[in-house]
Symmetry: C2
Subunit: 368 residues, 2 copies
């Protein structure tokens, strides 16, 4: 029986789902949760003995005040005492992500759905993987794209075995998948009404502009493009079509104001939809990265894009349902027909599943 230490940071929806799945886990590796934190609090035993696994959710809601999670360097130093261990970062905190190289250098592996570490400055990306190689510590981040869907691992397997990625194209936002699937299936539906319904159903971020600005999709494309070998400085290195009408891109406007004023711009989306429908096509919000292997240098601003595309009704993207994600991976070996992965790409349970599967894979490699 091998065992591995886990430090869990972030106990929101995903973090709690992760804890519930961990509690039900039945593997030949024992996970000892020796640290549990959120931004405002943290708990751990002085000797780093395991916290009671059946009490974790209770503890999560009553964490003693602590700034540890906000001071990643201190946290990395603290946890170095329990290395090898795994930091499970269930936050979307950029400050914590910036410290990944420190954790890795100190022998702490990382399993996370937090996109920030892999989609911010390119130097952070290289730092993370350089330190992961050095320290016998590993970093797995399947759930940064498509939640539990096997996207990152598939792209990595293709590349490590020598295949060449030609193109990756997909619908990477569950929220925008839902919105465009609804918008396309009913020609009288108003874009603003669908956003309102999506918000009411809890499908959007509390402020829907955080979905509509395309940044979440751009971060995922940054990660996939970098995996495929492109040096993408940051998500601002390529065009992102924001769904926030330009006149509403102003400082100080509240989410409620925004939602009130969004219907004024429905006619723009109506026109786009009508234009596509003329050719029997539908609108989808798509991220794309294309790699021209014949060219020595790649113009990132042309190779990567995030925006509205049109697809014929027969295309798999047009047939998408619900809030599903879909990713089509074109490679040299797979030829003209892509490898496709499709399914729910958001939600606490499937995201936690991606993180837990990663934690298990890390544990299988580092557990003593």
């Amino acid at each position: 029986m091998t065992s591995v230490n886990l430090a869990i940071v972030g106990v929101g929806l995903v973090g709690k789902a992760f804890v519930r799945q961990l509690q039900a886990l039945n593997t030949d590796i024992t996970f000892n949760v020796i640290f549990l934190a959120r931004s405002s609090g943290a708990i751990y035993n002085k000797d780093f003995s395991p916290l009671p696994i059946d009490k974790l959710l209770e503890l999560a809601d009553n964490l003693p005040a602590s700034d540890l999670a906000k001071n990643p360097s201190s946290l990395a130093s603290l946890l170095s005492a329990v290395a090898p261990a795994i930091l499970v970062d269930n936050t979307s905190d950029e400050v914590l992500a910036k410290a990944y190289p420190e954790f890795l250098a100190k022998g702490i592996s990382i399993a996370t759905p937090n996109k920030k570490g892999f989609s911010s400055d390119y130097s952070l990306w290289t730092d993370i993987f350089a330190n992961a190689t050095k320290g016998k510590s590993l970093v797995y981040h399947e759930a940064t794209v498509g939640a539990g869907l096997p996207v990152i691992s598939t792209v990595k397997d293709l590349i490590i075995t020598g295949d060449k990625i030609r193109k990756i194209e997909g619908i990477f936002s569950g929220t925008l998948s839902y919105i465009f699937n609804e918008f396309g299936s009913d020609s009288s539906a108003k874009f603003s009404s669908i956003v309102t319904i999506a918000k009411e159903k809890g499908f959007t971020e509390p402020d829907p502009r955080d979905d509509l600005n395309g940044m979440d999709v751009a971060r995922k494309l940054t990660i996939l493009g970098r995996l495929a070998g492109l040096k993408i400085d940051s998500p601002s290195a390529f065009p992102i079509k924001s769904l926030i009408p330009a006149p509403l891109e102003i400082e100080g406007i509240t989410a409620d104001d925004f939602m009130t004023r969004l219907p004024d711009y429905d006619s723009d989306m109506d026109a786009l939809r009508a234009d596509a429908a003329k050719d029997g096509k539908v609108l989808r919000y798509v991220g794309k990265v294309e790699i021209d292997s014949s060219s020595e240098t790649t113009d990132i601003s042309k190779a990567v894009s995030v925006g509205i595309e049109v697809y014929p009704a027969s295309h798999p993207f047009a047939a998408l349902q619900g809030a599903d994600n879909v990713v089509a991976i074109y490679t040299e070996r797979y030829g003209n027909l892509p490898l496709i992965v499709q399914g729910a790409g958001a939600g606490a349970d499937v995201t936690a599943m991606g993180v837990l599967a990663d934690a298990i894979k890390v544990a299988q490699r580092i557990a003593k």
Copy 2:
């Protein structure tokens, strides 16, 4: 720099593609090929020093005569000297597969596309995994279903993290995918003509009955059903609809005779196609496993099936192209919309890729 010993058995199309990918490999693990064999020959150095990696394909075509690959027990004993090591079984040999437990017990891990070990008697399946757990040796077999597509690993990740598989449904034969995609897209096409074209293009086994009998699909279903928790005694525990007309299911008939007489039965397939077309549907050759978690005992003969099904034009299975595979995995967490994996599920390069990615994963866990 860590290193791991590889023993490669089988140097046909998949074996050679594996060697070529291995030669081009650029990882931080060094793979030493210390044994290379086919059914009729084998080569290794007495001290198990690595064979010259750039000469492997040449060696493969000129192997000194040896019965070693036909005597798996002797081979397992021989290789125990180099444990931990990985047996890469690129054959479809049932005798070798039956010895997997011996290899595993002796500290030899396994990476293979050979379905026989996982789809024959249930006792072999349990023996394999029991010995894999005991000996610090591992068994990975992604390429037994869908070649390099992430099917086995995805099902395993879902289950280990606590999800419940409700249904797996898919098109698992590249050959039958091609045949039904062609048969469905042209209502004047004759089934027998399409089989002939598929045979000429090299899409079928040398004897097309080996595809048409449904056994290859049944073996894949057996593997998926067992992963999902069903005790499936063997592929003969559930109904398999053979596409070989009953009157041609006779001893002694040659492949050529069979192909000559197949057109006599085209009208049966025409009728099925016309029947489906009346409702706007198409025929597909599908494997299905359904798990009723409310029932304590499962009737395997009802839970698993392989045969012709009909799908509306809007269904993803109807839109399949070329010789693609598609697998829809329905689980408790994913709800009504399945996790779908689609793409080429046959071919030497993508099969070898699945095996090599597995070998890398095994090496990452066992390499010293």
